[in-house]
């Protein structure tokens, strides 16, 4: 049981990294007032780009950077469409997801059977060798790949950036009330571009992590909707990085649980009353295919609960989210 739990936690932490990257990026983008529904597409190009680069050069760090760059490139399109041309953020985002999916399916065909040596497992520098010894959680928290540690480090960094720096204050202002920010001398366009591009970079990193560290292979559509879950996570997190971490862990756990459930035998002893009814239900609930829906069901549940509990203002949504900004009204 202990071994199972430790293994489960380890898997959960590793599975959560994707969500951390993607959700943090989306938080930055939305705090700036721009919804990015292209996360899934940006993750895919990041994954393929990172994988291909690593396969060709053998350098996974280079692959990781290329993945981020590709995500940023796609985000540049989104930024141009939404900020400069003031088009619908929803349409642009979905278009980029379709584009990313299509591009990576097409170009990725050649890379499907390849294998690479991606990021190796490592212990956290300096302190890791001691902390790893902690029972149950030690391995999970302190022995991972480099991107996992980077993602964790990014949580306090993004928090500090948003809430303890001038740039962060301007980001928040621009997402709440761009007209006010403009009259205060803040460059609204520049700040929104920055937010969207950062969001793309983080999404690219999320994808690159998937193909270089989490599973070290490329498969068509390997993000499997995690980008969409990340968008929902941002709402669950109420646009705060530290809460996004909690959400990421929850979804990481669900992801990990699904893979490991085959090892658990949850049936009741046949002699117990109602065993005849309960056992088939349990078997159904533990069926791998059914379990694979749990992250998505959880997403729906999380969204419903969060939105029902709060009205829009209490939720903490940036007030100017989805609204393009232009100075002169004529």
């Amino acid at each position: 049981m202990v071994g199972f739990t430790a293994g489960l936690l380890d898997a959960a932490v590793r599975a959560s990294t994707v969500f951390i990257f993607a959700a943090l990026g989306e938080i930055i983008s939305e705090r700036g007032g721009v919804l990015n529904l292209g996360v899934e597409g940006m993750m895919l190009v990041g994954a393929l780009g990172g994988f291909a680069t690593t396969a060709v050069t053998g350098n996974y760090w280079l692959g990781f950077l290329v993945g981020m760059a590709l995500g940023t490139l796609l985000a540049l399109v989104h930024a141009f469409l939404c900020i400069t041309l003031k088009s619908s953020q929803v349409i642009s985002g979905i278009m980029l997801t379709l584009l990313g999916t299509g591009l990576t399916t097409f170009f990725g065909a050649a890379w499907v059977d390849r294998s690479i040596d991606g990021f190796p497992q490592m212990t956290l520098p300096l302190v890791g060798q001691y902390l790893v010894e902690i029972p149950i959680v030690g391995e999970a928290l302190f022995r991972s790949t480099a991107p996992d540690f980077i993602a964790l480090a990014l949580v306090p960094i993004v928090w500090w950036f948003l809430f303890r720096t001038n740039l962060g204050l301007e980001v928040i202002a621009v997402g709440e009330d761009p007209e006010t920010a403009d009259t205060m001398g803040v460059d609204v366009f520049k700040m929104r571009y920055l937010c969207v591009l950062l969001g793309g970079a983080f999404a690219g990193a999320a994808g690159a992590h998937l193909s270089l560290a989490f599973s070290q292979l490329w498969a068509t559509g390997m993000t499997a909707g995690r980008g969409w879950i990340a968008v929902a996570l941002v709402i669950f997190a109420q646009w705060r990085p530290e809460r996004a971490l909690v959400g990421a862990y929850i979804f990481g756990l669900l992801d990990a649980l699904q893979l490991r459930s085959q090892g658990i035998d949850l049936a009741l002893d046949a002699a117990t009353p109602l065993a005849g009814v309960v056992n088939p239900v349990l078997e159904l609930l533990m069926h791998p295919t059914i379990m694979s829906t749990y992250p998505y069901l959880a997403t729906i549940l999380v969204l419903v609960v969060t939105v029902v509990r709060f009205d829009e203002a209490g939720l903490g949504a940036p007030s100017a989210l989805l609204e393009p900004y232009s100075r002169e009204t004529d």
Partner: protein
């Protein structure tokens, strides 16, 4: 041009599609003066100031401050030049604190990085680091000097007698406090010129007085103050000089002490303005509205109307006075069929309309001018034409087989725009209603409602926030409609307006009518007092006729008695509101 002038705007020109907002305008202000900028809605005052503040690009002309010609491409340029602006709709972010709002855009680095040599000279960082440009650039972006700034802001606030908690989120502040934060924003940046855009629109009379004191103090310190307003009383109260704009042109600059309100009104509108209207005697006809025992809840589910009895006859204007928040909105909406009453009955021209849909009310000849012309009076994104025909398009005469005859609709809209003097519309099909200035939008809304020749018109604050010329027009329109036989319910906070227009006058307080009188018989002091719940002296009440229920009057008296002490206190300040 004025030699003493500190700020000089010369030959400023700005056009929008179809309208010249500023037509070769010269405008100058001296140091230490409070200079009023007066004009109707749409005269070009806001446009001129937005050019000054870098929000708009002028098509022609120049701006000089002292000897320097200014390049105003963005608000940052204006801020850098020492120009500050307090906007009519506050530019504050409710979620952020006062300090954060004030400091936004200044990029103050953390205390440790403050430039060596200033009073925060002790820092653990070596001078070389602090003075290095790279380090400063990084610190300005990636740190924030909120605590040091907060102290400075508090000192400033003390200096001017503002009482404000710099760490409070702005959403917790009331309107007067928020305006002081707006002023602090300008003071923090050490402005030489301060522009205030209709600052008293949201203030109570007491708060407005405090503001005037503050402005005088600022002017005494040498700041040039520009005070945009369309209220004549304010111009005479506080300005040293005043410039009047009319239809994009500068009509003249005068010393305030040499003119009176009538002169200013004439300059603003270009002709004599009637300040009080002649109400002709009209034969009253059949009842168009009969409401008994009306009760209704507000949006939060709390009872806002507690038993209203009201009847209105053809050719009668019934004025309802009251301080905002005593059930007026719910009453207006219930009478117009927009809000379902929780009890009671309502009939229009003999037909029982209790609990019917809004559409039924509209078809029964009820017209409604709501309080908020932007939110509820029009569809801002839609064209003037569509707004003008919103309630009329189902009329048979606009049918073209199964389609709508858009040409006919356009003609209808144009006739409303013509008849009701709606300005700023070069093409009814193209101009969105939201682009119209306050007075013109209000004329459009009233025009739409009156063009249907209603039996009953419910008008809620029809002239609020509207300039003098348009106010005169709107009130004349209401009187004309009354002569045509429409029954009008006029809900307003403006006692002058109610006294001018009403045949009967009711006072609403906490959801009930507590007083009934006529403009001829009324005592304004008593009306003002009843508006704030003050108790009448025994036997002083004007005789109520059948339309105000006896129960309501007694209740009003009882509540009045309980809250006597408070009423006496509030009557002092609120009496000002009643004016």
């Amino acid at each position: 041009m004025d030699e003493d002038a500190f700020l000089r705007m010369s030959g400023v020109r700005k056009t929008f599609p179809g309208v010249v907002a500023n037509d070769d305008v010269d405008f100058s202000v001296r140091r230490g003066e409070i200079h009023g900028l007066l004009g109707e809605n749409g005269a070009g005052k806001s446009t001129l100031m937005k050019i000054l503040y870098g929000l708009y690009d002028a098509d022609g002309g120049s701006v000089h401050l002292g000897d320097r010609r200014l390049n105003l491409d963005s608000p940052q340029d204006a801020i850098d030049s020492g120009i500050g602006m307090v906007h009519q709709h506050f530019k504050l972010i409710p979620r952020l604190t006062v300090a954060e709002n004030v400091v936004l855009g200044e990029r103050e680095p953390a205390r440790a990085f403050r430039r060596s040599g200033s009073d925060s000279a002790d820092s653990w960082l070596p001078d070389a680091v602090r003075d290095s440009r790279v380090a400063r650039a990084l610190a300005e972006r990636f740190s924030i000097g909120l605590d040091a700034s907060a102290t400075e802001i508090e000192a400033l606030a003390d200096d001017y007698g503002f009482d404000v908690d710099v760490h409070a989120p702005v959403r917790e502040l009331d309107v007067g406090e928020r305006q002081r934060v707006e002023i602090l924003k300008a003071l923090y940046r050490d402005v030489d010129v301060l522009v205030l855009d209709e600052p008293t629109a949201v203030l109570t009379p007491t708060e407005a007085d405090r503001l005037f004191e503050t402005l005088r103090a600022l002017a005494d310190r040498g700041i040039a103050i520009i005070f945009i307003t369309h209220k004549l009383s304010e111009v005479t109260a506080i300005t040293d000089r005043v410039t009047v704009l009319r239809e994009g042109e500068n009509v003249g600059t005068v010393e305030t002490s040499t003119v009176d309100q009538a002169d200013l009104a004439r300059m603003m509108v270009g002709r004599e303005v009637l300040f009080s209207l002649d109400r002709e005697r009209v034969e009253l006809g059949d009842p168009v509205l009969d409401a008994t025992g009306l009760r209704a809840d507000d949006d939060r589910g709390i009872e806002a109307l507690s038993g209203i009895d009201l009847s209105v006859r053809e050719g009668e204007i019934v004025g309802i006075a009251g301080v905002s928040g005593n059930g007026q909105r719910e009453l207006a909406e219930a009478l117009a069929g927009v809000r379902s009453p929780t009890a009671g009955s309502l009939s229009v021209a003999g037909t029982d309309l209790t609990d019917e849909s809004t559409r039924t009310f509209v078809d029964a000849g009820v017209s409604f001018v709501p309080e908020d012309r932007h939110e509820y009076g029009c569809a801002e994104e839609l064209s003037v034409m569509r707004n003008a025909t919103l309630k009329a398009f189902r009329d048979g005469r606009f049918d073209d087989g199964p389609f709508l005859d858009y040409d006919e609709l356009t003609r209808y809209a144009e006739s409303i725009v013509d008849e009701f003097d709606v300005r700023g519309v070069h093409d009814v099909r193209e101009v969105p209603a939201g682009d119209l200035s306050g007075g013109n939008l209000q004329k459009l809304v009233l025009g739409r409602e009156l063009a249907r020749d209603p039996d009953l018109l419910v008008a809620h604050q029809p002239t609020r926030g509207v300039d003098v010329g348009a106010i005169e027009f709107l009130r004349e329109a209401l009187l004309d409609q009354r002569e045509d036989g429409t029954g009008v319910v006029l809900i307003s906070e403006d006692l002058d307006e109610l006294f001018d227009l009403s045949d009967r006058l009711l006072v609403i307080y906490e959801g009930e009518f507590v007083h009934e009188t006529t403009p001829e018989a009324a005592d304004r002091e008593r009306v003002g007092m009843r508006m704030t719940g003050g108790a009448p002296a025994a036997g002083d009440e004007a005789v109520a006729d059948a339309s105000a229920s006896g129960a309501a009057m007694t209740d009003g008296g009882e509540t009045g008695g309980e809250s006597d002490a408070e009423a006496v206190d509030t009557a002092g300040t609120e009496g000002g509101d009643a004016r």
